[in-house]
Amino acid sequence: MYKHKDLLGIRVLSAEEISFLLDTAVPMKEIIKRQIKKVPTLRGKTVVTLFYENSTRTRGSFELAAKYLSADSINVSGASSSVTKGESLYDTGRTLQSLGADVIVLRHPMPGAPRLLARSVQAAVINAGDGAHEHPTQALLDMFTVREKKGGLAGLRVAIVGDILHSRVARSNIWGFTKMGAEVRVCGPATLLPAGLEETGARVFHQMDRALEGADVIIMLRIQKERQQQGLFPGLREYSRLYGLSSRRLSLAAGDALVMHPGPMNRGVEITADIADSNRAVIEEQVTNGVAVRMALLYLLTGGGAHFEANH
């Protein structure tokens, strides 16, 4: 069962709740694979995506998830709304609620913004990424993908490589995979690893070769060029040499290791093109699964309590 009003992060969920969310996404994926990708389940419900950061895949994924379930959806952008007139998040949330929103999907550059919104409205709030805090639906789709490929999550070795400091994806995946019984390793340069990281339960590495030894899953994170201008690492050339996923490095992992990336990729920087396009990479499947996971969430947060039956 999932009994929360909102989904703000993975850290506060139990393993049972995570399993239930993933189970609910299974029949949703079946709908996406149909010729006619639409069920009437959420007819009359309204989903608002409120994005204060640019995003194509997460926003599109939520919007399609809402449409496949027959919910009405509108998009509000931080740039085009009254936000630029200085309206507070509190007031924006209250306005969207008055317009009839049942679910507000929030992407925001600042950690904790979804918590503020959730406190301010009765509508369900889904965190679609808040600063470096959490990106729970990304972690759910990553776990869904791995579970589908590997049959389960317990006992797997999951390596997350790159800019952990700024990564909400890394944090949500550390909480999620750890709760599900996997071993999580994080790897990056000292200047891109946040303080006290080992206290999250993850094992911390600076050398990528060691982090990848025997790994079943490799999650590569996007490195942003602006971090170089902030003095956090010397340059992309050296970064790529130390923390790029190459064929040689991939050979250190388990023979059937999965390669994942939350996107968008910097081909030739954190991942070579041949690996990104190889059959080891499940990057495109992650995108499809993202829609299924978000359908499951929209369904559960608008009152769907029990397991969803795809053929109803």
Binding site: M110, G131, E134, A195
Partner: protein, 430 residues
């Protein structure tokens, strides 16, 4: 009006006195015993502590410029309700207190309010911009008790050195909010595992300690009295303790929130726990308590920093730093330090009255005959749950809502006049 406070436990740190006795007040000063007449108010303080008026040497009264957060009148009302008879206010108003007229304005408004002594702190540099010295001697003449650029610490070491040379000449203390902005960056809470969990940017201990070290070195060289504001890290406590051993003229203060709370108090992005310097780790809290006990830290001050509800009801990154402290300070000192045995009642009173008075060079901290009748009566056993709605101050931004406190101020007397008397406190007046 004459006043007799009977049967209280007199705590006079200036005289090292701790005994049960009666205290007599006549014409605004503490007097020799006299026979009561019909103009005499008699207060039975049996079981209560009778102390010199408490002085909070670090508050923000927000006037002029930010009267929606606090005014001199509401801030001194909060002081009186919190047991403080005097407060020293920081210069980060709008305009900044960086000239004689601004100092005189604060004194005028404080006299109009008439609730507590107000000691203006002047800015070190014009506009607190860290570029050129403000007219320090002129402000000193007008009554500036100390100098500080508080939340905008002087980044240029050379300018800070000249400020100390100049203040040394005036024998005025410089109060330093130690924060190297190049290390603090745009951090919003203590750097550590909890900031990592929340994805918030951290402020490392080094941001404070690097500047504590710098300013101690400059104070040793210039002989200027230096006071380190709101010490928050174990490393800062060690630096101050070590400097005192070498004879450097340095003193330090700690706030109730820094000896009570850790970074975990940020909880689920509670902006009322966003404060600068940030709430630190458990080892830091312990080090501050040790520093208070062994004398490395001289003063307990609140850094009372009012902000409106709407300013705090925003994303954590956007919320201003600061929390209100005047009306919870005594309760926290007694609950966290006195009842736990970290400080004796006399030591606590010394850090809340005599020591700040000495550092600021103002009268206070004594209950001797002839001293101004600034008196605080504390009931060490009285309990209450913190309820911001009951605050006399204008803003309610406290992280202590719902916390149970034991040991509360029940009577505040300024220059012989009662400015606050707690209802139903059990202190009987006739």
């Amino acid at each position: 009006m004459k006043l007799i406070i009977k049967n209280g436990r007199i705590l006079d740190p200036a005289a090292g006195r701790d005994e049960t006795a009666d205290l007599y007040v006549d014409h605004g000063v503490i007097s020799a015993p006299f026979q009561p007449d019909q103009d005499t108010k008699i207060i039975d303080a049996a079981g209560r502590l009778v102390t010199p008026g408490l002085i909070d040497m670090h508050v923000h009264l927000r006037e002029p410029g930010f009267e929606y957060k606090e005014t001199i009148a509401t801030g001194t009302a909060a002081a009186a309700r919190g047991g403080f008879t005097g407060v020293a206010c920081m210069p980060n108003t709008e305009p900044v207190t960086d000239n004689r007229v601004a100092v005189e304005y604060i004194n005028k408004r404080a006299a109009e309010a008439g609730l507590a002594h107000v000691y203006p702190i002047g800015a070190i540099t014009r506009g607190s911009l860290g570029k050129e010295l403000a007219e320090l001697a002129d402000m000193r003449e007008a009554g500036a008790a100390a100098f500080s650029d508080d939340g905008r610490p002087v980044p240029d070491a050379g300018l800070m050195r000249r400020a100390m040379q100049y203040c040394g000449m005036l024998d005025a203390v410089i109060i330093s909010h130690c924060e190297d902005k190049s290390l603090a960056g745009d951090g919003v809470m203590h750097e550590g595992a909890y900031a990592t969990t929340l994805g918030l940017k951290g402020i490392p201990a080094s941001a404070e300690e690097a500047m504590v070290a710098r300013d101690i070195i400059l104070a040793a060289e210039t002989k200027c009295p230096l006071h380190i504001a709101h010490v928050s890290t174990a490393g800062s406590v060690s630096l101050v303790r070590e400097a005192k051993k070498r004879g450097v003229r340095v003193t330090a203060e700690a706030t109730p929130h820094h000896f009570t709370l850790t970074d975990r108090a940020v909880g689920d992005f509670d902006t009322n726990a966003k404060v600068n310097p940030p709430l630190r780790g458990e080892a830091d809290v312990q080090a501050i308590r040790e520093g208070l006990a062994d004398g490395a830290i001289d003063v307990i001050a609140t850094d009372h920093a009012p902000h409106s509800f709407d300013e705090k009801n925003v994303e954590f990154d956007l919320a201003p730093f600061g929390l209100v402290g005047l009306e919870t300070a005594v309760g926290l000192v007694w609950t966290e330090l006195v009842h736990t045995g970290v400080l004796t009642p006399l030591q606590a009173v010394q850090k809340l009255s005599l020591n700040p008075a000495r550092i600021l060079g103002v009268t206070g901290g004594a209950l001797a005959v002839g001293a101004p009748a600034d008196i605080t009566v504390i009931d060490p056993l009285l309990e209450e749950t913190v309820n911001p709605a009951a605050f006399a101050g204008k803003s309610k931004n406290t992280p202590f809502t719902g916390r149970r406190l034991k040991g509360l101020p029940v009577l505040t007397v300024v220059a012989g006049e009662i400015k606050y008397e707690r209802q139903n406190s059990g202190v009987r007046s006739q």
